[in-house]
């Protein structure tokens, strides 16, 4: 992927998608956000573009499948879990040669403090099973809160755990993510998503419970003290 390859963010009109669109555009990565509703996507793109500092890359907004087609290589899936499988089934024929970055967490319906994992083990593994082994699926960005992403005045103060069964795709995604100024770690095969996705409700729980002296916690990989 060259410096100006365009990425798509499907479900890009939700809080997580909007925050990622802003962060990537600021980092110089052109973004096309997708939505089931192309008008809504276009409106949000205008709104986000107005918030971008000078020198940022562009944000466009179109319908989900058109957005996937417009992406040069990487497509971020940021839809609610209830739409995860159906969106992938619609997209599958467009994904040949591209990388699907799955950031979806299978939160329990009406309970963001719990996950209900799919039979495949995790959303990332379900996506890989649905798309087949010829399309690279990489799980990432599950643990960064939407509030943190949208607070563009501040750096993103957590690390990103990246997993998937294809090493080259994983490395490309780690390079993309590190443009956001965070450290991305190779957290192993797709099955690691069982843990990484399930960290999100634990973080949400800490934020809701006010047991932490801050909100919108993330995780970092901690070195030993020296």
């Amino acid at each position: 992927m060259n410096e100006t390859s365009k990425i798509a963010i499907l479900g890009g009109t939700g809080p997580q998608g909007k925050g990622l669109a802003l962060r990537f555009a600021i980092a110089g990565v052109p973004v096309v956000i997708g939505s089931r509703d192309s008008e809504r996507a276009a409106e949000v793109a205008v709104e986000l573009s107005a918030a971008l500092p000078e020198g940022s890359a562009t944000i466009e907004g179109i319908e989900n499948l058109a957005a996937a087609t417009a992406a040069d290589e990487m497509i971020i899936l940021s839809v609610p879990y209830s739409a995860h499988d159906a969106t992938l089934a619609d997209l599958k024929h467009l994904l040949s040669g591209k990388i699907l970055i799955d950031i979806v967490v299978p939160l329990a319906p009406k309970n963001p403090k719990a996950v209900v994992m799919p039979p495949e083990g995790s959303a990332t593994e379900a996506a890989q099973a649905l798309l087949g082994d010829d399309i690279a699926v990489v799980g990432a960005l599950h643990n960064v809160s939407a509030v943190t992403l949208n607070n563009i005045e501040q750096p993103i103060n957590c690390d990103v755990l990246v997993c998937g069964n294809q090493l080259d795709a994983k490395k490309s995604v780690m390079t993309l993510i590190e443009k956001l100024g965070v450290k991305a770690y190779n957290a192993g095969l797709a099955e690691s998503a069982r843990c990484i996705e399930a960290l999100t409700p634990i973080l949400i729980r800490l934020n809701i419970s006010k047991e932490v002296p801050f909100t919108h916690a993330g995780v970092t990989i901690a070195p030993p003290a020296h």
Copy 2:
């Protein structure tokens, strides 16, 4: 639990158990380490005691069941996963009114970069199912490396995620753990152990792969930047 309540560490002659014994004794908590082999336990207790700075609490070593009996309230289970269920079955009749702190990670046989979760979902949930609801099981301390624990010259530079179905027991364990100078977080019900236990092989993987500029990584809950 008062300041000087004695804790037991079963499987206390392994690297993790030894490191915890040192850290708790240094923090002023008397420790009795247990092993299947009482002579081995006594030898290790002598070895560890020699490493303690002046003013530390004592470390004794006896057989596992005797150690569980000697504990005032809290018993840390630190055996290899292969001995997890059998040790608990042996202990069950001694645990009434006590708290079982399960730190065991169900690592895959011959592959510390993967877990094989039990049918109950996690080792902590398996322990709770085996002991019944009248005995409090708390999952904790899964993600602190043995090397970090045994390097007693240095502070433990990571956080501890604590989970379990009984809130009072969980709070007692958090208070105990914070004596080690770390922050303990209430990570929710026992089912959170599915995630917390599975974090360990991800950390082991990062350490083995040298993808991190340090070894023996832990995790911390990161606040947003200010």
